[in-house]
Symmetry: C2
Subunit: 419 residues, 2 copies
């Protein structure tokens, strides 16, 4: 197949943008398939190492240039980014973006723009930086019965959890280092509140299950409320606490999803995913689990995914959204039974207890306490709305007995088939 | 994109073939994109649960049927398989295969057949069962500076190493269980000698670096000579012994490759890849490492990859062999300096010593001994040819000082760029 010559207009000259500019100058990396013609930056007062004829502060210098056939969007304002991307697609330009908030929030508009103007729009870098998740979910897990996708999707919070848990560094200091290393979003509360992971999960849901929901519709618990009682609980059981995003199909055909801290056993794949690394596990009936791990934040890994998308445009690659357009039902549910750990100031014990379906362990000292047990997702959500300072940590998703039987029967049948 | 209707002719009705037949009958799994019209099996005496009009023992019943547009080849004789695949492609049929030996051995012929007859030929299942390695190497690591691919590519030997090392089970018993579980090749010596892993490495080399070499040209050490002295050495250092295939680019631009047992540190990704699982690590300048893990053998995972390939045909997917056809030089080298551990019967100590560039540790008791130190790959090969019973285990690839400096400079420059 003949490679298409790509002429790029780049929006945003921050970490990733400036890196991409340098890297595209290196012959070995790019195979000279793409050149950057124009860069539109935000701040005219900032000194930049770009030839003056390449630099501009007016978006129309890219949008109105017919020679530019690819827009690479690397700004960090989701609304402004969407305006740019929309205009670029309306002018028939292909678009590559790393903006998870924009992709998640404006997904339906972006999907229809792709259909209407028949232009590709790629955004692998929006999810776990360099890990090729979107493409694999889109292309590889097409036929197989995908059961679940779960993982650590946010590098910044994983870095903080690693430092505070493994190395006993203070939360504020760990956050400061994460920011200095360029791991955190420009607004770190997006990371810490779990919202960044929820945006990414919303994107994975599209390509894994053909379902689009807004970030606000994903039950999300961040890491800011995790305290020393929680850490001690994990430590005593040789477990770690990780911020895990999860989407899974149950026997009723419904897909359920949420982002929340989870206790991870020492023999679990995610236990070993530390620092800024991300790790994602897919589960299918036929292949069982697949595990993907790699750096989940940072300018270089993010550039790497942007480059892969640019290269793919050279071969006319585009997402087909196979699962989104397929005829099958895509039911979602916002409720299920979970086994969780909830810790609280001691005065709240009775209040918290009422929300549980069944209490397992109960602990208290003069200041704090925790319960473990089963609780519905809906009750957990209600509890969170009442008191944001409570600490929720997932132990497991409860699997109904009939679901266990169904799964066992599937496996047994499968084994019989192959004997 | 409209899905193409696929009518399949299936060769081979063993583990994977019969599983695929059952799975393609399940609507949920396939989306009804593909139907099996005819199955050609080998042994007419074996009773099979197939409708008589679907079953045949004559290959022309598939090859001469113009309605059949996809041949799925799941037999285990590489030469006979190639004859079938060649004939199918000449008749314009797309082909899916899981036969690593055939793909590796006949690769150049198969490549030219794809060009000449413009038919896709997919073989994801030939490498690490269900893990999507070939497609990711082909599509995703296109632009980036891929530095190395290494991993555990053979599920059967990994199962045996896990059982003998972790659980102290006898080699012969572990092999027997691997065979009973359907993990081993029909001729298990292919697994144990490392040849199966070498076939797979040969396929990865095509898609990772655009290089094709025959299995015979890959220096290969199996697992049969690993003994209790070696295991004790690993155990004392909190390491495991894994059979690792490795291909890597060095500063001179040459790609080097081999398959041999390696000591793996407890904090290394591959340390946790046990039992029948495979694990592969890619390293690129921009993205650093990516780790893929999943079941590396067994009928279900293999079927899963075959199904993904069939689904991809529905969307006109084919390998572009981008790196093979790209203009850049593809130099290979069969020599480099390695840090290895070699164990031997005590009488051979002086003989072995002569091959080393430099000796580090030396150990001996009344029966056995080992050296660690540096040795050239060429000398290791010579030593293996002289005495196949010696045990070689890789400790590390020696990186020249200038190469370390180059790598450090790259990283430093990259970091500076992004500051």
């Amino acid at each position: 197949m003949q490679r298409k010559k790509l002429v790029i207009g780049l929006f945003g000259f921050g970490c990733v943008g400036s890196g991409l500019y340098k890297v595209l100058g290196k012959e070995a990396v790019t195979g000279q398939v793409a050149t950057i013609k124009k860069i539109v930056a935000k701040n005219p007062l900032k000194k930049r190492d770009i030839a003056p004829h390449q630099l501009s502060y007016c978006k129309d210098d890219i949008l109105d240039d017919d020679e530019i056939n690819v827009v690479v969007e690397l700004t960090d304002d989701a609304d402004a980014a969407f305006q740019i991307v929309q205009a670029a697609m309306q002018k028939g330009k292909a678009v590559v973006s790393a903006n998870k908030k924009m992709v998640s929030t404006y997904f339906m508009e972006l999907y229809h723009l792709q259909q209407e103007y028949r232009v590709p729009f790629l955004y692998e870098a929006a999810c776990c930086a360099s890990l090729p998740l979107i493409r694999n979910l889109e292309e590889y897990y097409d036929t197989d019965t995908l059961q679940s996708v779960e993982g650590i999707l946010n590098g910044s919070t994983n870095y903080i959890l690693t430092k505070t848990f493994n190395e006993k560094i203070q939360f504020a200091d760990a956050l400061k280092t994460a920011q200095a290393l360029g791991y955190a979003e420009s607004d770190p509360s997006l990371d810490i509140s779990g919202k960044d992971a929820a945006y990414k999960l919303s994107i994975l849901l599209i390509h894994a299950f053909g379902i689009h929901v807004q970030q606000e519709d994903i039950f999300t618990v961040g890491i800011q409320q995790i305290n020393e009682v929680d850490n001690a609980y994990a430590l005593a059981r040789n477990q770690k606490i990780k911020l895990v995003a999860r989407a899974f199909k149950q026997l009723d055909g419904c897909v359920r999803f949420f982002v929340m801290p989870a206790f991870v056993q020492h023999d679990h794949y995610l236990y070993h995913v530390d620092d800024v690394f991300n790790g994602v596990i897919t589960r299918t009936h036929l292949a069982d689990t697949h595990f993907y791990a790699g750096r989940g934040a940072g300018a270089l890994p993010t550039s790497s995914a942007v480059l892969s998308d640019i290269a793919a445009l050279g071969y006319q690659y585009k997402y087909e959204y196979k699962k989104l357009v397929s005829a099958g039902p895509k039911n979602i549910s916002h409720d299920c039974l979970l086994q969780v750990y909830v810790s609280f100031p001691i005065a709240k014990a009775d209040f918290v207890k009422n929300y549980f379906t069944e209490i397992g362990e109960a602990f208290s000292n003069s200041e704090k306490g925790y319960f473990t047990g089963t609780i519905t997702l809906k009750n957990l959500q209600a509890l969170q709305q009442k008191d944001e300072a409570l600490s929720f940590i997932l132990m497991d998703v409860c699997i109904a007995e009939e679901e266990q039987k169904h799964e066992a029967a599937w496996q047994e049948e499968a084994v019989l088939e192959f004997e």
